[in-house]
């Protein structure tokens, strides 16, 4: 078996090596000429650094240097078409004739534009396609915006930069990844995160691993260690729908593709960066001053990075490394966040027909974690909702709190007991991608991709013995390991058929296969007798568990792109997808798609008088089908088979019912209709993108409750229909363009209407929440609609505990978007800001529910002073509420005991909160130091100052409504419930970037 593998792979590996080695010599060296020139900004005359100049239909190209100069050497004599490109500018092409032994000059002056029609998009089409030909909307984030952003990881980079996509952070703890959603919730199964590729290789995008249990809902995420930095060339985002047909299953949530830099020909350019700053906690929602002053700290931040890029005509490279460390926003540096990262991108041109791109990345992160919400031993919980540090409660317990000093001493000594918890995580994540492009003829292009993503996450929570009253005195240790491996194998081919008159035709076909393996081990030990231990060996009670999951998904696709007169484009395709997600037998599904794009402004009949105002209009419409297999569900991947569980009981193992099984289970299928237009106004100064989208998911997965008489609880079924529709509108405007001052504004708004359109014969049921306020699947309501109990008084008008159940809340925002501006003064100073908003949704304030529970405590007289939480005279006397008086005021008297009635359950409507929020995400100032100041010794210096999460403009007062982190088990987080957590910190960053 081994020898067979070796025999197969040796020629392949050898072949690649030979290609690389020989490639450099592939071009003749004697009778050649060269082209050189300068690329400048047509409006200002300034040279453009890093502009791309390439030869059409060839792999050859280069980028401009610090002076805007480029050189293309060793070209055989002949005529070439050169294209100059730069982000934010209109591409320009020129024909150049090369003469042997001579150097031809060709300069380019390119004009800025807000329109990106010439941009090449890879995602959704399989091969690079001009944006003007795309039949669906696609968003791209370019390296400029990436370089200017302080975002640590991909999910934070997406915030506010992709119209129509939301990436909300459930908490500010390190290791947390955002919940990424596009166009609503299509199924209640698994996460809404889109599929993520790096250089064509699929990445781990999961979160909510087993580590969350016992921590009150704090989860770590694979998104948090998908670091972004100087190694990223661009990010393309497709929000689901027709374009994701080529990505098959799981494409319904959208696709994000990251492309890394591979360098370009030129002398080696070194760059070094140093960033320092501080993380300041956001405490506007903190209830208790003691927590505000003692739980939080402002932590220092430092980051060091460096890189080099360059290359020859045959081989170019881009190497980056960075180290970053934040001390975190919790006292004692308990929430540190540290990352080490090295990445390399290489491109070897074997010939003008073939090239190989390799990217490799290694990330190691180490971060601290903490118990939040209502986890046992959570200081937040005890102090913020149990009134444990209130003076009256401490007095009831017998502590001397007669003076402020005594009160502080008692509180400090109790608080210290909560700090003994050690909670740490570490992630090791290497990935490697290999792209081999081979174009034997100009019209036939092949791309082979192979790659691996490996992620190992280790977490450890430890409570030493004798920790005081906060934790179990006997100590506890929990460890979890999660190992994730994903192998991608992909082939894409494109064949440009000969033109038939005005009709051009391109066939795209390919194959993708992914194999995913996940292994999680968790173990816990409790009852340690001796101090100083950190191993399970020394525990008296050891429990362990494991979870294994393997899945293979593969598919073929075929797509035809027809262009008529290079103005009207029709795109039709089909994908055949299979997966082992349900069991050993691979189930197959067919996903078709069709779309049309019409650049109507390029037609002759387009009125010229309109052109100065509306410079170009593209209309587009597309329909496609994508599916979803249950690949990310927590425990139960094999859902067709009936399965039993084993439960320990008194030292024996007993059989219990687990999964009823459903042989009819199949993928959930989403059909998307996208209709939209891309318009550019005022001579490409303003670009407007408008979409209407309608996504209908049929057979979406729900955990449908079973008949109790069967002994089972729930079973995954394909039930009913979910509708998501709305509009997306985004505008980018270069408002002012002058040599000294540039201002561009951007904004986007998306509306979403999410509805369970059909229950498919199943009764409405609960998907999350609590017994007193569940989130429900109900007909004609949004997924996860919140059902609350509204008090109903008796006939005499007195309320005695009766209530009506009412659907009253929508957890998904109905309107959301982003806004921002970029301002450049004197070409050297840039100021930008960006913010996001989310409106039209509600949530349950579970934190308040905890206070409602805990206002109902006991009270006694201590030295004649009422102490405790609630004090009443014996024999039906009046009740005095000693803590949380504003909540107590809402309570109702219990007519039996003349005390307050437990109101959380019958009046859970009091927990429904308007969740609308508006936040400024980032304000940045960048200054490019004029080169005259350091007399050209260095390539360039840029100074930057950034604040991330500076201001919350609008938000509920009691709780951070962006968090909404509480989930049901390990399934989808529908949102709609927020508890006590640590919000995202205000991050100050000051940096220097030096190009050597």
């Amino acid at each position: 078996m081994h020898s067979h593998f070796l025999r197969c792979s040796i020629p392949y590996v050898l072949g690649l090596l030979v290609c690389v080695a020989v490639g450099g010599k592939a071009l003749a060296q004697t009778t050649t000429g060269e082209i050189r020139g300068v690329v400048t900004d047509a409006s200002s005359g300034e040279p453009l650094v890093g502009a791309q100049v390439s030869i059409a239909d060839s792999k050859l190209g280069t980028t401009t240097n610090i002076n805007g100069e480029y050189t293309l050497r060793r070209l055989a004599p002949g005529e070439y078409t050169l294209i100059a490109k730069y982000v934010g500018f209109k591409s320009l092409s020129r024909k150049v004739t090369v003469v042997a032994g001579e150097s031809v000059k060709q300069d380019f002056a390119i004009a800025p534009t807000a329109v990106t029609a010439d941009e090449l998009i890879v995602t959704g089409q399989g091969v690079a396609t001009e944006k003007r030909k795309m039949v669906t909307a696609v968003e791209a984030i370019n390296s400029d915006r990436i370089a200017n952003s302080t975002a640590k990881s991909l999910d934070q980079l997406l915030q506010g930069n992709v119209p129509g996509l939301t990436a909300y952070l459930p908490s500010g703890m390190p290791g947390t990844g955002a919940r990424i959603q596009t166009r609503g919730i299509k199924s209640v199964l698994g996460a809404t995160n889109p599929v993520i590729y790096v250089d064509g290789v699929r990445m781990d995008n999961g979160d909510n691993f087993a580590l969350a249990s016992g921590r009150g809902g704090q989860v770590s995420s694979a998104l948090a260690d998908l670091l972004v930095g100087d190694n990223i060339e661009r990010v393309e985002v497709i929000k689901g729908g027709a374009a994701t047909t080529l990505y098959g299953s799981d494409g319904a949530n959208g696709v994000i593709q990251i492309f890394t830099k591979k360098g370009s020909a030129g002398e080696a350019k070194w760059n070094v960066g140093l960033i320092t700053g501080a993380d300041n906690p956001e405490t506007r929602w903190t209830f208790s001053d003691y927590v505000r002053n003692n739980f939080y700290q402002t932590g220092l931040f430092q980051q060091y990075k460096g890189g080099v890029t360059g290359g020859s005509e045959a081989l170019s490279y881009n190497l980056n490394g960075q180290i970053r460390d934040s001390r975190g926003i919790m006292t004692g540096d308990r929430l540190i966040d540290r990352a080490y990262n090295v990445s390399a991108g290489l491109r070897a041109i074997a010939s003008e027909k073939a090239d190989i791109e390799v990217s490799a990345n290694f990330t190691r992160t180490q971060f601290g974690s903490w118990f939040i919400n209502n986890a046992g031993g959570s200081a937040l919980n005890t102090i913020e909702t149990e009134a444990a540090f209130e003076e009256s409660v401490l007095r009831q317990r017998g502590f001397d709190v007669s003076t402020p000093q005594r009160l502080a001493t008692v509180r400090d000594s109790l608080y210290r007991q909560y700090l003994v918890l050690e909670s740490n995580e570490q992630v090791t994540r290497p990935y490697i991608t290999l792209n081999f492009n081979y174009a034997p003829t100009k019209s036939f292009n092949n791309k082979f991709i192979v790659g691996v993503d490996y992620r190992k996450n280790e977490a450890r929570d430890f409570v030493p013995i004798n920790s005081g009253e906060a934790f179990n005195a006997n100590g506890a240790l929990t460890r979890t390991d999660r190992e994730f491996t994903q192998i991608t194998l992909q082939y894409t081919g494109s064949l440009k058929l000969p033109d038939l008159g005005v009709m051009s035709n391109q066939l795209i076909f390919g194959f993708q296969g992914f194999r995913q393996e996940t292994r999680e081990f968790f173990g816990s030990g409790s009852n340690f007798a001796l101090p100083g231990t950190r191993d399970f060996d020394n525990a008296s009670v050891i429990t362990a568990g494991e979870f294994n999951f393997q899945n293979f998904t593969g598919g073929f696709y075929l797509s035809d792109q027809i262009g008529i007169s290079d103005r009207l484009f029709i795109d039709a395709g089909v994908r055949l997808d299979g997966s082992t997600a349900f069991g050993k037998d691979v189930s197959y599904l067919v996903y078709p798609k069709i779309g049309v794009a019409y650049n109507i402004s390029e037609e002759e009949f387009y009125p010229e008088s309109l052109r100065p105002i509306i410079s170009s209009v593209k209309l587009r419409a597309a329909y496609g089908v994508a599916g979803e297999f249950p690949t990310r569900l927590g425990q139960t991947a094999f859902l067709r088979d009936r399965a039993y569980g084993a439960q320990p009981f008194n030292a024996e193992s007993g059989i219990t019912f687990n999964i009823p099984g459903n042989t009819n289970l199949t993928a959930a299928v989403t059909g998307s209709l996208d209709i939209g237009t891309d318009i550019s106004l005022f001579q490409d100064r303003v670009s407007v993108e408008f979409n209407y989208y309608s996504q209908v998911t049929t057979g979406s997965f729900f955990s449908v409750p079973e008949d109790p008489a069967s002994g089972f609880v729930t079973q995954q079924r394909n039930v009913g229909r979910l509708d998501n529709n709305g509009i997306e509108l985004s505008i980018l405007a270069n408002v002012i363009q002058s040599p000294t001052f540039d201002l561009s504004l951007r904004g986007s708004v998306t509306t979403l209407s999410n509805k369970v359109a059909d229950l498919g014969g199943s009764s409405p049921f609960t998907v999350g929440g609590f017994a007193y306020a569940p989130t429900r699947v109900e007909l004609n309501q949004p997924v996860g609609a919140i059902r609350v109990n509204v008090p109903r008084p008796d006939a005499d008008g007195v309320w005695r505990g009766g209530f009506d159940q009412v659907i009253a809340g929508n957890p998904t925002p109905s309107t959301y978007g982003s806004f921002g501006f970029d301002m450049t003064l004197f070409k050297d100073l840039t100021i930008s800001a960006m913010g996001e908003f989310s409106l039209g949704h509600q949530l349950l304030n579970q934190w308040r529910a905890r206070r409602q529970v805990n206002v109902a405590g006991t009270g006694t007289l201590v030295n004649g002073v009422p102490s405790g939480r609630r004090y009443s005279e014996p024999g039906n006397g009046e009740t005095i509420y000693l803590v949380y008086q504003d909540i107590a005021r809402d309570m109702i008297r219990n007519p039996i005991t003349n005390n307050l009635l437990y109101v959380r359950d019958p009046a859970s409507t009091s927990l429904l909160t308007n969740a609308d929020w508006v936040k400024i995400r980032e304000i940045t100032v960048r200054y490019r130091v004029p080169r005259s100041l350091f007399s050209n010794l260095l390539g360039g210096i840029t100074l930057s100052a950034t604040v991330r999460n500076p201001i919350v403009l609008f938000s509920p007062t009691e709780i951070d409504s962006e968090s909404q982190f509480i989930r049901e088990g390990r399934a989808l987080n529908v949102g709609g419930i927020a508890g006590g957590t640590v919000s995202a910190a205000r991050q100050f960053r000051f940096g220097i970037d030096i190009n050597l």
């Binding site: 082992t580 059989i655 008949d707 005991t897 437990y902």
Partner: protein, 522 residues
């Protein structure tokens, strides 16, 4: 260069490249690489078994296939599964039924407050409809027993009759619990609902089957009891519900003859059964269950922290009480008194512990009285017209000392007291049900004795089209003799050191005995 020219002619017109082509060797290497890559792909695509097939995946769950393939020894995990499911079922039984009855009031806790007012209980009740609630757990027990009887046991060649007997016993007991607490329900997945009486009769035949299989003298398991005793007591209980005096008496006598002081416990595993709602009864931390003051001396019965005491589910006191009830229904007052006296004697002989209740978290109106040194002198009247009883309130709270607490059975009555009662059938009926209330305290019996039947949970009405909401069994059934008003059965007033309970439910039962007792002849 010939090869090169051929190559260039195929290029498009505007790029006349005369670049020197790579040598033939390199071209072949490239083509070879392409071939190898295609080979790799095709083997993957064809799913060719062996090295390059990416599709094999493994289901780590226990499936039907696994059970069939490894059937030997399957009886043992089945029994363990039945025992643990039984413990779960009984745990939730306690929390709900004790609150619904007059035994306990829910003062302020996470458990549904509507349980104190039975007529307000619906299938969507927060505590009732939990997946760990009584209805779901009892159905689970029954389904597991059926699964064992139909699938596991027949395939396991090492199964013994004793194991079969125990499985039948649990099947019967699940049906018995369902029939005592619910009025109509299905007992098969999507099956037709049957009446409680029909379920009870099925339970009886299950017990009889178990009895036959267990043999005349089966061994006693130190934790899980003796199957024969269990069946005998269960049959006495079930035949009582059927109103069958002959058979109820017969099995009661047999149970006493076989083992006169037997108790069958539902065991608890603190490590593995700690997410059940029975915690609220077992672990008295943040919840507040107020017992009826007249029963204060029996509270809390399950004393250990973190709550690993077993619950007695069947005991021979019941045999005495069944025989007493039969005698009473036959107007044989002397035998009734004797039998009740025997029940009292047995109850008083059961284990006790010395218990100190100093936790200040108990929020009960009687607590202020109970907290004082004068607790011993507090008197309780069972109703506004009843005489004052002493010795029923125990001193609790800071400064209190240990008192004797029964953990299996306890009663305030004495043999002499019973013998001194007038020969009035109604008075004796009250006494009988008072004894049942005290002896079966915190065992989930009182609600059924009162005649209240719970509705099935929301998931049952939604999961089975044969049982739509509104049909019989889906609504709570509260007899007319249960007083109306919020938590009426739990109402009491305190004046000085006298606690007066508003309704003496045992008297109410005695006044309606012909409709409450399953036996005829009243």
């Amino acid at each position: 260069m010939q090869t090169a020219m051929v190559f260039t002619e195929n290029h498009q017109r505007n790029v006349k490249e005369k670049v020197e082509m790579p040598s033939k060797f390199l071209k072949n290497v490239l083509l070879g690489t392409l071939c190898v890559f295609t080979l790799l792909l095709t083997t993957v695509l064809q799913g060719c078994r062996g090295l390059l097939d990416p599709t094999p995946v493994q289901n780590d769950q226990v499936t039907d296939d696994n059970l069939r393939a490894n059937a030997q020894g399957g009886a043992r995990p089945l029994l363990t599964g039945l025992r643990l499911t039984f413990s779960r079922a009984t745990g939730s039984l306690l929390t709900v039924t004790e609150l619904v009855s007059d035994n306990y009031t829910n003062v302020t806790s996470f458990v549904s407050q509507l349980l104190d007012t039975p007529r307000d209980i619906t299938g969507t009740d927060l505590t009732l409809s939990l997946n760990s609630g009584i209805y779901v757990r009892t159905q689970e027990l029954h389904a597991l027993a059926d699964f064992g009887l139909q699938t596991i046991l027949p395939n396991d060649p090492t199964t013994t009759n004793l194991q079969r007997a125990e499985t039948w016993f649990y099947k019967g007991f699940a049906l018995l619990l369902l029939s005592e607490n619910f009025s109509r329900f299905p007992i098969a997945d999507k099956g037709q609902p049957i009446s409680a009486a029909a379920a009870r009769d099925t339970a009886i035949s299950a017990f009889n089957t178990a009895l036959a299989l267990a043999g005349t003298n089966p061994p006693t398991d130190p934790l899980y009891g003796n199957v024969r005793s269990n069946c005998l007591l269960a049959l006495a209980r079930a035949y009582r519900l059927q109103g069958n005096k002959t058979l109820a008496a017969q099995f009661a006598e047999q149970a006493l003859a076989f083992n006169p002081s037997y108790v069958f416990f539902a065991r608890y595993d603190p490590q593995n059964l700690n997410s059940e709602i029975s915690q609220h009864v077992r672990i008295r931390t943040d919840n507040n269950f107020q017992p009826l003051p007249r029963l204060d001396f029996l509270d809390p019965k399950l004393v250990s922290v973190p709550g690993s005491d077993p619950i007695s589910m069947l005991k021979t006191e019941e045999a005495h009480l069944v025989l007493a009830e039969i005698a009473l229904s036959n107007n044989d007052l002397a035998t009734a008194k004797t039998r009740m006296g025997q029940a009292v004697t047995l109850a008083r002989s059961r284990p006790t512990v010395q218990f100190t209740d100093v936790a200040p978290n108990e929020n009960r109106p009687s607590y202020p009285i109970g907290a004082s040194a004068a607790a011993a002198s507090v008197r309780v009247r069972a109703s506004p017209t009843a005489p004052e009883d002493t010795g029923l309130i125990r001193r609790r709270g800071v400064g209190s000392s240990a008192f004797t607490l029964p953990t299996v059975s306890g009663t305030s009555r004495t043999v002499a007291g019973i013998n001194a009662l007038p020969n009035d059938r109604r008075v004796l009926a009250r006494e009988l049900y008072l004894l049942r209330q005290e002896i079966f305290f915190l065992e989930g019996r009182r609600m059924s004795d009162l005649g209240i039947r719970l509705p099935v949970v929301e998931r049952q009405t939604q999961g089975n089209p044969n049982m739509p909401f509104g049909s019989e069994g889906t609504l709570v059934s509260v007899p007319e003799w249960i007083p109306t008003g919020i938590a009426a059965m739990n109402q009491f007033t305190i004046a000085g050191s006298v606690i007066t309970i508003q309704f003496d439910m045992n008297q109410v039962i005695a006044d309606n005995i012909a409709r409450v007792s399953p036996f005829s002849g009243w």
